[in-house]
């Protein structure tokens, strides 16, 4: 303690205090920030018990109406088709936790069988896009280069060159596509979830969709190559600039401090 108090006037004391304060603020933020996961798990337990068509009444009807006709809290589900249900529920977006600019992806709380049951129920309300089969979305053998061109024309404006995501108006956003399964990408294009426009088969046929999925898997999968090294989020000049300032110039200034510093003097004298 004595050592500590003797050093509180040290030139570096202010820096240490600042670092501690920053760490404390960050820690507090982390402690008090909304804990999305815990809530999702709870809901998961309560909902997983229900099955079949009852699932709708429990999980969906409060917003979308008892017969899928929609309400002020949620759009009508008549005619959205089974593909939309499969996408929304199996990516965990539905049921939504809270209103907001956009419903985020979270942990899926239903089994595939339950989702299929829900989808069948919604599909029975009115015809709509049907859940694709693997044959439809499997990107094997598709044209990656063509997919890239289609992606840059149709998708990159919101999702970025390689699908890293981007911001939309008033807090809405286009999500990062890394790790999204081919099926879900296909369904998203087919149905246009939330504010995303749809790309139906009439304007973007199955083959083109496959090309896009193949391109995305190449450039934004977990095996994607980044020949130059760290891809820095794939975000372009903003993250490159930050990296250049912090690690580039930062390192060089640290080196400059070493070069210009006076060498330690012998203690004896």
């Amino acid at each position: 303690m004595k050592k500590l108090s003797a050093r509180r006037r040290h030139p570096l004391a202010a820096v240490v205090v600042l670092l501690l304060a920053l760490a404390a603020t960050g820690g507090l933020y982390a402690a008090f920030a909304p804990a999305g996961k815990a809530q999702a798990d709870e809901t998961a337990q309560s909902l997983a018990i229900e099955e079949g068509q009852k699932l709708y009444a429990v999980g969906c009807a409060s917003c979308h109406g008892s017969g899928g006709q929609g309400s002020s809290d949620g759009p009508s589900l008549v005619g959205v088709g089974s593909a939309a249900v499969d996408f929304q529920v199996s990516t965990g977006r539905m049921p939504a936790q809270q209103p907001g600019a956009q419903v985020p992806k979270k942990k899926n709380i239903y089994t595939q069988a339950q989702i299929d049951q829900l989808a069948a129920y919604i599909a029975s309300l009115g015809a709509g896009p049907i859940t694709p089969t693997e044959k439809q979305y499997d990107p094997a053998g598709a044209d990656i280069a063509r997919g890239g061109e289609l992606f840059r024309n149709n998708c990159a404006q919101c999702h970025n060159f390689t699908g890293e995501g981007g911001a939309l108006t008033h807090g809405k956003y286009a999500p990062n596509l890394e790790g999204v399964s081919p099926k879900h990408i296909y369904e998203a294009m087919l149905t246009g979830p939330q504010n995303m426009p749809s790309f139906p088969d009439s304007t973007m046929p199955e083959k083109e969709k496959k090309d896009i999925i193949a391109y995305l898997q190449t450039v934004n999968g977990d095996k994607s190559e980044s020949p130059g090294g760290l891809k820095l989020g794939g975000l372009g000049p903003v993250s490159e600039g930050l990296f250049g300032w912090i690690f580039g110039l930062g390192t060089l200034i640290a080196v400059a401090v070493w070069v210009a510093a006076h060498t330690a003097k012998a203690k004896k004298s």
Binding site: E164, S226, V238, A256, H262
Partner: protein, 542 residues
Amino acid sequence: MSTATATDKRKAPAGERVADWADGRLGIYSLAKSNMRKIFPDHWSFMLGEICLYSFIIIILTGVYLTLFFHPSMNEVVYHGSYVPMQGVRMSEAYASTLDISFDVRGGLLIRQIHHWAALIFVAAMLVHMMRVFFTGAFRKPREVNWVFGFLLLVLGMFTGFTGYSLPDDLLSGTGVRFMEGAILSVPIVGTYLSMFLFGGEFPGHDFVARFYSIHILLLPGIMLGLLVAHLILVFYHKHTQFAGPGRTNNNVVGMPLLPVYMAKAGGFFFLVFGVIAVISAIASINPIWALGPYIPDHVSTGAQPDWYMGFSEGLIRAMPGWEINLWGHTLVLGVFIPLVIFPLVLAAIAVYPFIESWVTGDKREHHILDRPRNAPTRTGFGVAWLTWYVILLIAGGNDMFAQYFHLSINAITWFARIGFFVGPVIAFVITKRICLGLQRRDRDKVLHGRETGIIKRLPHGEFVEVHEPLSPGKLHTLTAHEQYKPAEIGPTVDENGVERKVKLMEKLRVKLSKGYYGEDHQIPKATAEEYKEIQSGHGHH
């Protein structure tokens, strides 16, 4: 044979003979006499300029290599190189050759990345170097011209960077060039003509890559090289500034000689800078054009940004409301043209400051001792205000990224920038000035009462006091070495003959500014020797 050995013995060593030869033609001995043992003061912030110099050299070295492989042509080709996701795609030769440099030339990717990283670091280092010069007042007489040279290097560096960023003709840079076209079109009367002349017709045309190429590799770097040499000659000629300290006066420079210490330190620093940039280029990707795709005017990606040094101009254009005036069949595109005009003004604001300050102080003497920023509160406040302005614009320029990664609304960030553009610098100025004055007071206390040691002593009657340790004579001198100006006065308005003297408006303004700089509440009078003696003699109670 024996005579030959005899002459050899009398001959000087080989090195000296070469030097003699050169001296007879170039006069190198006279040159070396004044420069070989030139003194450089040691301070890390004096090496920031060297980072700029060395990254510039690295950029030139790698740039020359890149020209060996790059084709500055917009002819359309179909790609058949080794990068699979682009095979069969139509693209310009410029883009295709950049792909080849990245994937088919061994080491080409590394050189490209070194070139680009060094460019980002070059401009960043120039800005930091300029701020160091600014905050320490190193721009004062006799260095104002060198300040201007340095400023021009910064501006030219930005534009050289921008033209280089545009060369690969990828989707990102093409979007940037399209923005440039829109900005040019907004210029009243001549905008459309300028655009047609720059692009050789309608955008994008087939010419701009080749034209930017000669600007990027020849015109701008040529001018920069000239300015750089002039900048360095002046640094040598003026000799380096130094911070106040024992034995360091306005009339000397204290440090280590060029030969050998700074030859080794500065020379070594070049290799250190190059080494660090090479390692960064090995581990971090920059501008991966293969992921961006070739430029096609109807394609785009979100997150379309310029490199960081153009970010503040991007911020200006993003924060500007969309004003457009249509009158008598003509359109005044204020929404684009105003940012275009403010862009140079933002830069000019910091560039002209030294001249304003010297006008306000009326000081015509040479200054070789640097100010500590706290001892020039108004200047420091202005500098921080400018930086705040700059950073707010940078944030506005990256509003989509900040919205995405901090879960904010783009619209809210834009509004923050719109308000911050006007309010931010003012707040920053006031706060900074307060902090400087606080630090001046602390220095004064330190001089008068000594250093707070953190050791608490209990006095016999129970009182606790902190032991203050008197400063060394050197420290006392350092803390009181700065000069304090007296605020200017209008002076008598009637001359000795009783005739009224007219005070010019500019003079009134100068006096007003001077009071704002050096008036009573704008600097803390430094401790005097009398005060010190008085307090030290009555020592014992604190």
